[in-house]
Amino acid sequence: MELSGAEIVIQALKDEGVEHVFGYPGGAVLHIYDALFQQEAVRHILVRHEQGAAHAADGYARSSGKPGVALVTSGPGATNAVTGIATAYLDSIPLVVISGQVSTPVIGSDAFQEVDMVGITRPCVKHNFLVKNVHELAETIKKAFYVATTGRPGPVVIDIPKDVTDPGIKIPYRYPKAVELRSYRPESKGHRGQIKKAVDMLLTAKRPMIYSGGGVVLGNASEQLTRLTRLLGFPITNTLMGLGSYPSDDQLFVGMLGMHGTYEANMGMHECDVLIAIGARFDDRVTGKIATFCPHAKIIHIDVDPASISKTVSVDVPIVGQVKPVLEVMIELLGENNTKPDRDALDKWWKQINHWRSINCLDYDKKSDKIKPQSVIETLHDVTGGDAFVTSDVGQHQMWAAQYYKFTKPRRWINSGGLGTMGFGLPAAIGVSIANPDAQVACVTGEASILMCIQELATALQYSTPVKVINLNNRYMGMVRQWQEFSYGGRYSHSYMEALPDFIKLAESFGHVGMRIDKPEDVRPALDEAFAMKDRTVFMDFITDDSENVYPMIEAGKGQHEMRLPPGMTTKRELA
């Protein structure tokens, strides 16, 4: 088969099994767009801003487990995508981003719409390529997918100069079945001896904790995690990125940990004697003050990326490998081991944990005459049967979604944790909806965040992605306002959202349904009504209590055992 560079790009995507590409055209990619036009196997979703393309591809990837693909032009198209690429990088999401580049002879001459995309993205990609020769194109695309999806996943950029896609130059095409890179051999199975050591250590525990994260979602190991946890009967906490990988409604689940985690999860971490970290990276939002992090614990850490291990916290038993096979061996070795977990010690430990739990740290005022954002999320959970895909933006609403939508399945909770990118929620939701056309998709957002990628409402109309936008409108950059209240003497510097648009009219002008809800009693009927509109995008503007804060909280510089609880709640530090 003889193909041009542009046709090779499309044919390679087909051969890679790619069904959807999120993109935006421009000069440097016109040849590729022309090749796209002449086929039907790869469907192109036209976003309205290249940041949206990267986020939509990201949401697609997170919800489906398949790599997301974005296509952007050179220069401004490429730079617009960078925020989305960095977002995927920090959360280890497999993306392949194809950017156009000026023709090879003029590279470096400040040509029209030229930027050094490989240089700009170098610090926020897993790897990137500049394809200088059409003969390298097919193999490079194969390599890009291989690198993006294996080991610790991440975004890969392929920068393609326009002359490389010249429709006038046809060459024989062959897409490699597999590629090997002598410089890249991701670890997969984990060392059996280390796993055995870990099992022995787990069985000596009197106050154990399981701390699992995004790696379990990325590694499709929820089932193994659930089996191991139940086998051991240990308490388990999830990071923000791990939510849903263990069913939140299970008794062994003590909630999220970290800055806005539960009191019981953070106290459990602080008092535990053996900690097993599974696909989690000891982020500073999780550890609080490092010096007082898990002071009594021996630590086991399973991670596919050796660089994640002992990066911020030293560990005693490192296991480099994919969570799934490692947990399988762990379960097998537990079965063979004659020692069993120390039930008496565990009973005592659970008593303590339930004592911490009993303060009910996520309680909030349910009798208020203002809409409490927490209640919107709880009602959203009810109305969707706890089974929706929920994307979010960044801020207080993100934390409330994480705390109150009790996720029971992996890949349902889709948010930007590492980079914390406002503007992520809506395009990500569109990507989720494209990947899961029959699913309920909610985008929990705030009135500040939603304005950062609001243009994607047009994409939602064009492709009929029936996203329900849950705008928790508190008229503030609430998360910023909260910090200013706690740490800056209530000086609300530039965090008030003046001049907000009329979101209903705005939604309607984009061809969608708009709803404003300002009374607590209207929350449920409105959500019922919105989700009954199965094929419509509905923008729900919830006018919520503007003074509500996210609790509990580990404030900056504090340890995990020094949580600030909601006003009026007291701690229960001592043993039950």
Partner: protein, 163 residues
């Protein structure tokens, strides 16, 4: 502690900037860096001199290994190794000072590469410490130019960094 990390990487455009970028992005210290192709033209060998405690050095080696272009890596300072750096020094040399410098060059087993009526260019080779010592022995204001290659090194014995 000072460490010398030696690595093989794909001899490709951009590989060097990935390594240099990593050091600046992650706030790692870099004292010197040298790179050139090896007898296998598809591979370059890089030598990096850096400083840090064990924790930092562990991160540096892990992060370097993580770069897709890096094929293999060794911390030479983990075992017995040879270190060589080359230095060219242009020195003001008039009158008595001229003899003094030539004597010094002799002691350091270095070579005089160029002679002008007022200057000398001396080549010194050795471990970086020896080069430092040579410079320290010179009168400060007589030094006109110092050109150092950065350290290179190789492990002693039959161990080889190869693929």
């Amino acid at each position: 502690m000072r460490h010398i990390i030696s690595l093989l990487m794909e001899n490709e455009a951009g590989a060097l900037s990935r390594v240099a970028g990593l050091f600046s992005a992650r706030n790692f210290n870099i004292e010197s860096l040298t790179v050139a192709p090896t007898h296998d033209p598809t591979l370059s060998r890089m030598t990096i001199v850096t400083r840090g405690n064990d924790r930092v050095i562990e991160q540096i080696t892990k992060q370097l290994n993580k770069l897709i272009d890096v094929v293999k890596l060794v911390d030479l300072t983990d075992s017995s190794f040879l270190e060589r750096e080359l230095m060219l020094v242009k020195i003001q040399a008039i009158g008595e000072a001229r003899d003094e410098i030539m004597r010094l060059a002799d002691i350091f087993r270095s070579e005089i590469l160029d002679v002008s009526p007022t200057t000398l260019v001396v080549e010194v080779t050795g471990a970086s410490k020896k080069l430092d010592a040579f410079l320290a022995a010179l009168k400060k204001d007589s030094v006109l130019e110092v050109v150092r290659s950065g350290a290179t090194g190789v492990a002693r014995g039959d161990k080889a960094l190869s693929i």
